[in-house]
Symmetry: C2
Subunit: 145 residues, 2 copies
Amino acid sequence: MFSKSTGYALRATLYIAQKGTEDHKIGIDDISKAIGSPRSFTAKILQLLTKNNKIIHSTTGPHGGFYMTEKAKNLPVRAILQAMGEDGLLDRCILGLAECSEKRPCPMHSKYKIIKTQLIGLFETETINQLASDIQSGKVFMKLK
Amino acid sequence: MFSKSTGYALRATLYIAQKGTEDHKIGIDDISKAIGSPRSFTAKILQLLTKNNKIIHSTTGPHGGFYMTEKAKNLPVRAILQAMGEDGLLDRCILGLAECSEKRPCPMHSKYKIIKTQLIGLFETETINQLASDIQSGKVFMKLK
DNA sequence: ATAATAAAAGACAATTTTATCTTTTATTAT
DNA sequence: ATAATAAAAGATAAAATTGTCTTTTATTAT
Ligand code: FES
Ligand code: FES
């Protein structure tokens, strides 16, 4: 569905939401180990999330690291996709046409749009901290390998 | 969702299903113009579809080109994904975990699986010629640009 | 047989995505 | 002030995807 990068972004954000607070920040080393992603590459991705949409925050230096504000934790998961520039993917034509629209629908459109609506709804209604607390409950998981 | 290649594969196949019969084969030039895809690249992709799963057939020489048997036209659209090796995509974890399973579900799993089931069902139940005839009815479209 | 046609096959190139490594900058604690 | 820490920034590289171009092979019609 999404790119590897966006997968890392989603999982890293959920991890930070779980463990990172303003007075207990999480280092990139911890994060990349926890979610099973390449360290430096993940660092780049987190920079996007701090700059573009301020989903996560970071500080340098000792005791520095990544964390999220309570406000940001209440954002829908979709906000992460937006920060990664992959939000549009949810709206795309499943057959790869330039755009998915009612005006020039592809042969899959009428049936796919119902699914698409649910998909967008899912990313729109689920919040980052809902998912994060589900992980902490121990019933769901997030490590790659 | 799918790669560009798979998009071309889907659209090319639907075009061939519409226009190509054993005594009126369709040339790669015609196909790539019709669906708005790079000619030579599309040719490669069609080779996969002829070799791997025999979804489409082809002959060389004058009056040669691509066509489909009636049997193949009754295949589900999913068969095209399979031939392209992207069938697994439908089953993948939306957060990018190594596998999507009930045993180690990600935090999106329980809600996503309902959508996923519909998605797989859609590709499984829609047949190539159903979509192709919808295109011929003129109500739906398939050109990239 | 020969020429013409069209896909198959192969070589290569451009682009995008993913990944690694090094240097710099900001912050903290001593 | 200085050393230590950790992210930011930058440079570079590997891998995968997408795209182009040329040559070969198979088929048809003359
Ligand atoms: S136009 Fe193809 S899914 Fe909407
Ligand atoms: S495990 Fe993530 S969607 Fe099933």
